[in-house]
């Protein structure tokens, strides 16, 4: 009864052994290892064998906590930040350096701009053309699908997630064109976008988030995607939605594509403020304050504004007014310094005491030429002060008065 048992036992054991071997084979030869070996060969040929030590091995990831993304692209795309790999084929080609300076890898990762599935460690999954992943790599494959020649066009959707509030973003030509069209054609006449606009058409502020299933594709030709729907709709609204009142603006295909990209970029994004383009992190000056500072910078006292003296000191005769007046008016510095510190102005600037010692050694560092310039200008300021006082004294003199004229100020 038990004769066949051993045969079965060993066959099952064999099957388990084979499968375990397959699993281990998969473990020792992942796809990325091949690419990493290739890259090392490339580095050895181009830059010499010693440079191989600088090439990291194993899974690489860039974890951008603020954006809640983790990107493992650099496991295969190892040449991103290397110089001298501009003309090599992918995946080793280096990234255009200029934009990388403004968007360093450690702070942005890759997928926030390029799309794709950052979690993945094999090419097909990483490039995102798999089921259940809605953020494919915005490169050639997607552009070809929509017959857009510029393979950097689709990516601009992601640029606009942060650059949404720019009027114009360098390098995002489709988006810039679309934003111009929005202003020209006045989409806001019927659509609300960012709290402004009409209510005849739907609110478009976050239309990029709308689920693709919500669109009606019955009258559409071609691929059934949300992006395609928007492009078709922009080119001929009535063909897609018969009961619409949206006029046909006669957009050519490039305009329609640009607007389609813009519209798909209008999404809810949780991005920390410091990533948003155009956001200032200081209180804004009022119009009067800005105007005043502009005048002071164009006037005679510009030097004291530029060097920062005006933060504490006014120089009234040169038109420089300090907001706080912590220190005395420098128009009188020539005599003031003498009476307070017992030194000439030049000596004081070279050997300051008290608060000025701290200020002139840490916050405001003046070169010898600048000190001379300061002294000269302060002398001019003082002269002006003297003239003013003489004039005001003279003005008082012209009025009939019983009291004798006051004597001129003593030096």
């Amino acid at each position: 009864m038990f004769k066949k048992d051993s045969i079965l036992l060993y066959s099952f054991g064999g099957v388990v052994f084979i499968i375990t071997a397959i699993v281990f084979w998969n473990y020792y030869t992942p796809e990325w290892k091949g690419y990493q070996n290739e890259f090392q060969d490339l580095v050895a040929t181009k830059f010499g064998a010693e440079k191989i030590q600088q090439v990291p091995q194993g899974l690489q990831q860039i974890w951008v906590e603020d954006l809640n993304r983790v990107d493992r692209c650099t496991t295969c795309h190892q040449g991103m930040e290397w110089k001298g790999l501009d003309n090599v084929a992918h995946p080793f080609k280096s990234h255009p350096q200029e934009i990388l300076k403004k968007h360093p890898l450690s702070q942005y990762g890759c997928t926030v701009c390029h799309g794709g599935q950052g979690f993945a460690t094999d090419m097909e999954s990483a490039h995102g053309f798999v089921e259940h992943w809605e953020e494919p790599l915005m490169g050639k494959q997607v552009s070809d699908l929509y017959l857009i020649k510029d393979r950097r066009a689709m990516m601009q959707i992601n640029c606009n997630s942060c650059h949404r509030y720019d009027r114009e973003t360098k390098g995002a030509d489709y988006i810039n064109q679309a934003k111009q069209l929005v202003a020209e054609k006045n989409c806001r006449a019927c659509h609300t976008i960012n709290d402004r606009g009409g209510t005849i058409g739907p609110d478009l502020t976050y239309v990029g988030d709308k689920s693709p299933e919500q669109y009606d594709y019955s009258r559409m030709l071609g691929v059934k995607t949300a992006f395609a729907w928007h492009v078709s709709h922009l080119q001929n609204p009535k063909a897609l939605v018969p009961e619409t009142v949206m006029p046909n603006f006669g957009f050519n295909s490039r305009d329609a594509q640009a607007l389609g990209l813009l519209v798909m970029s209008w999404r809810r994004t949780t991005i920390p403020a410091r990533y948003l383009s155009g956001v200032k992190f200081s209180e804004q000056q009022t119009a009067e304050e800005a105007e005043k500072e502009k005048r002071m910078l164009e006037g005679e006292g510009a030097f004291f504004v530029k060097k920062g003296c005006f933060v504490c000191h006014s120089v009234s005769t040169l038109g420089v007014e300090s907001a706080s007046k912590i220190g005395p008016d420098l128009s009188e510095a020539v005599t003031d310094v003498q009476s307070r510190f017992g030194k000439q102005l030049e000596d004081f600037l070279n050997n300051p005491t008290g608060t000025m010692a701290v200020v002139l050694s840490t916050q405001i560092i003046l070169s010898p030429e600048e000190k001379r310039e300061a002294v000269e200008k302060l002398k001019i300021a003082y002269q002006k002060k003297v003239e003013q006082q003489t004039q005001s004294a003279a003005a008082q003199n012209t009025r009939p008065q019983a009291t004798p004229s006051p004597s001129p100020p003593k030096r």
């Binding site: 048992d5 388990v16 094999d122 809605e134 798909m264």
Partner: protein, 448 residues
């Protein structure tokens, strides 16, 4: 030269130690075979001898063993997964993606866990079918048997298995998980009187959120497996107490008609004796030598075989069918179609078909198809052994003639469940429309 003898002596000693460990598993005499079950901790679970028929492939198909082995695989794969998975709504999906892509052998662990889970549901169900069709839920002639109780324990184990699968299903926190649990808990809420409160308690709130996830996680990793382990131990103990598999009772009934030689010794399998008489004590009835074999090594060898076979099938399926992961859970977008896990699809199909409007009153299909029908089935199953009037001669007999009617009814119910499952799995497409297998589903639109 004094070292040589001691080295040799030490070597011989190793041999002896190895013999000491090995002998209970590969006994060489009958005496050793009998002794091994009392001298080995692991082997003491078993009786010293088992009937040949109990060991046969085509009586039980070893389905019970297969489910136990699958459960063991689930525990062994589940433990590293517990370390790697994070049960927080913000990180659950990310942790599963990490398991798939960055953890060494992660895809294999997760895949094996999933394959074993699906197989276990199927095998436990098949085990139930086998037990019913062979009348193995019935008592035989020996004293103090209580197979109906064991049948009830088995039903409970089936329900626990389904619950384990259900709680595990939510954990990846992808669209499939989220909406499958939405459907499932909404069916639960259709229960009369306590439905809403039950749902609130299960979810830890009114929506499927962090509370739900952590509750399901703790249930899935601790309480439900603990329940299964405890009940399983009880289940096996009852099998021993009842004298073994039901086919053994057949043997004693048949033997009563045969002439068997009286045997001198009475006490073979000490551990098999209940208070009273079991098959093994009735030595004048059962011809042990003709019908039984030693547990060690025959039972143990077959157990090893079945374990290895189960493992083999599971790992092959794991490598062939990778575990899927859909898009991250999105409470605002329902996938089309939104389906429950396959073992509940028959319920979902029922729920679709049983919404009735009588007069002006509409009865929700969730109530009929989701609560009443499965409820009635479970109650009927539990109660049936006590209502069964078939003769004791049908215990442990496959498709006994005296039980033909109940077997047919049972098979019809099983077939209905299977058909509904197949319809729900393969023939229902977007919007739950009916699609023949050769009709293609419309492609779902995407963003780009």
């Amino acid at each position: 030269m004094a070292t040589k003898p001691t080295v040799w002596a030490r070597l011989k000693n190793q041999r002896a130690t190895w013999e000491k460990i090995k002998w209970t598993w590969v006994p060489e005499t009958n005496r050793e075979a009998g002794d091994s079950v009392v001298r080995n901790f692991l082997l003491h679970w078993f009786p010293a001898k088992v009937t040949r028929q109990s060991l046969s492939w085509n009586y039980s198909f070893w389905l019970g063993t297969i489910s136990a082995v699958l459960f063991l695989i689930l525990i062994v794969t589940g433990i590293p997964l517990m370390f790697l998975y994070v049960p927080s709504v913000e990180r659950a999906y990310l942790s599963v993606k990490d398991i798939e892509f960055t953890v060494s052998f992660g895809w294999f662990l997760r895949g094996l866990h999933r394959v074993s889970a699906h197989l276990m549901v199927a095998v436990v169900f098949l085990h139930l079918v086998r037990v019913f069709l062979a009348g193995a839920y019935k008592n035989g002639t020996a004293a103090k048997q209580n197979r109906p109780l064991n049948w009830i324990i088995g039903i409970t184990l089936l329900l626990l298995t389904l619950l384990l699968s259900f709680t595990g299903y939510l954990l990846p926190w992808d669209q499939l998980a989220y909406w499958a649990i939405t459907v499932g808990t909404n069916i639960a809420s259709a229960a009369p009187v306590v439905g809403e409160q039950l749902r609130f308690f299960l979810l830890g709130g009114s929506t499927i959120d962090q509370n739900t996830l952590i509750r399901f996680y703790v249930l899935h990793c601790f309480f439900l497996p603990l329940g299964v382990l405890l009940l399983f131990s009880y289940h096996m103990w009852r099998v021993r107490k009842d004298g073994g598999l039901a086919c053994v009772d057949q043997l004693s009934l048949e033997q009563k008609k045969e002439n068997a030689q009286p045997i001198k010794s009475k006490t073979y399998s000490l551990l098999g004796i209940a208070s009273g008489r079991t098959v093994h004590v009735e030595t004048s009835i059962v011809d042990e030598d003709k019908h039984t074999v030693a547990s060690s090594p025959n039972l143990t060898r077959r157990l090893l075989l079945v374990s290895l076979g189960t493992l083999a099938v599971s790992v092959v399926l794991t490598v062939l069918f990778r575990a899927p992961l859909e898009a991250a859970a999105n409470p605002t977008v329902t996938p089309n179609p939104a389906k429950a896990p396959w073992y509940f699809l028959w319920l979902q199909e029922l729920v679709t078909l049983t919404t009735f409007t009588i007069g002006g009153i509409t009865i929700n299909g969730a109530l009929i198809g989701g609560i009443f029908v499965p409820g009635i089935l479970v109650v009927a199953a539990i109660v049936w052994p006590y209502l069964d009037k078939s003769p004791v001669s049908t215990v442990g007999v496959w498709m006994a003639r005296a039980r033909r009617r109940q077997n047919i009814v049972f098979l019809i119910i099983v077939a209905a469940i299977l058909v509904l499952t197949i319809v729900g799995t393969y023939l229902r497409g977007p919007y739950w429309d009916f699609y023949w297998p050769w009709q293609s589903w419309p492609t779902m639109p995407r963003k780009f």
